[in-house]
Symmetry: C2
Subunit: 199 residues, 2 copies
DNA sequence: CACAAAATTGAACAATCTGTTCATTTTGTT
DNA sequence: AACAAAATGAACAGATTGTTCAATTTTGTG
């Protein structure tokens, strides 16, 4: 009797699952409602009892994805001990993000590919840009030292991070979240050392 | 009498221009061939004399965009003097890229937005990832020092760079290419200094 | 189980868009 | 002017969309 009880999740889940299955093979724009109904073995009309159109279907999947990701990140973050250095905290955040991504990698792989919907990478970046911003702005020394506009710094660092994630999911998770965290740190260290050397 | 002479570029250009104009207001998936013909004030059948379908139209615009970008970059790079340090060369490359982007910013703004086509940011990143790779691999010390897989490093650094570009074009070029180059260097410097400080 | 509510079905529908065809007209070049 | 290339208008079948509605099936609850 929960307030959040949803009637009829079963068919809705069936439709969403079938849709994702087709999305692995065809682009979003080429998929018809008929395709989805056929895959789910339901009447085409039934689709419209649950979703306005295929865009609504994708929106709802995307919303749930972001929600699940956020919840998982918050959950992991609640276990943080905040006695570390700034760098250690950044490392902890990175590990958290990689871990959360891993759970959603099949969906992310599709949504980030050309089978997905235009602009997804922007919405994805925006969604987790907030997580990073909150984390960074806790640090007074950071805010004081940063000379460039925050929006540009955030675009830079979150895009870089997403670049790693995209490569990772495209490689079908060829590394563990822990290995990815180390890889991330190694790259940062590499950049830090690089400017002391000459050609 | 050039080999590359194209018959009938006028109508083709008209169609492409009209299409881009509509793309500023509507998403690619919602635009019909009828919309394009109406905007260009041509017969719908004429569209099919020049393009297979609207996907072909977008493909051709995208190809030309990448071609133009590449040519412009190569042109600017041919003026390099290679007597600089590795860092100076990286700075020069960054300046070149920002300058090339500026010329194509109206189109890039649309193609990177949710009005464009899924996966554009991947193709875009891939296209200029090559430019960066070639530049990096010239440097022996770089190759020797890099511990992480090249593909991951490239994803990281090119995504970061594209993040800046996306923010820049979304801001309607609120800075000059020179300012963007400085901003880029500032961010790298910031990251380099950051790990020496505590919370 | 029985029964009512909820969900699904099948079929039909007008509307829109697609891609193609073809006869005709316009345009550009020699 | 004459010829070829390009564009037009109209028509066409085929797909897909989103909606409706009566009939049927499934589900949940007493």
């Amino acid at each position: 009797m929960s307030i959040y009880r949803e009637k009829n999740r079963k068919t809705k889940d069936l439709i969403q699952g079938s849709f994702i299955k087709i999305l692995e093979k065809k682009t979003f724009e080429s998929i018809t409602v008929g395709d989805i109904a056929k895959q789910a073995q339901i009447n085409r009309g039934t689709f419209y009892l649950h979703f306005i159109d295929k865009f609504d279907l994708l929106d709802q999947i995307e919303q749930r994805l972001f929600g699940d990701l956020g919840n998982h990140i918050d959950e992991l973050q609640s276990n943080y001990s905040s006695t570390h250095t700034f760098e250690k905290e950044q490392e902890q955040l990175a590990a958290t993000l990689f871990s959360a991504i891993k759970m959603q990698s099949p969906l992310l792989k599709i949504f980030l590919s050309d089978h997905g919907r235009a602009g997804f990478h922007l919405r994805f970046r925006e969604a987790f840009s907030e997580k990073v911003r909150v984390n960074l702005e806790k640090n007074e020394s950071f805010k004081a030292t940063l000379k460039v506009p925050m929006e540009y710094f955030l675009s830079f660092i979150t895009s870089a991070f997403l670049g790693l994630i995209e490569q990772w999911v495209q490689n079908d998770l060829d590394k563990t979240p822990q290995e990815m965290t180390i890889l991330y740190i190694d790259i940062i260290s590499f950049i830090q050392k690089k400017n002391t050397k000459k050609v």
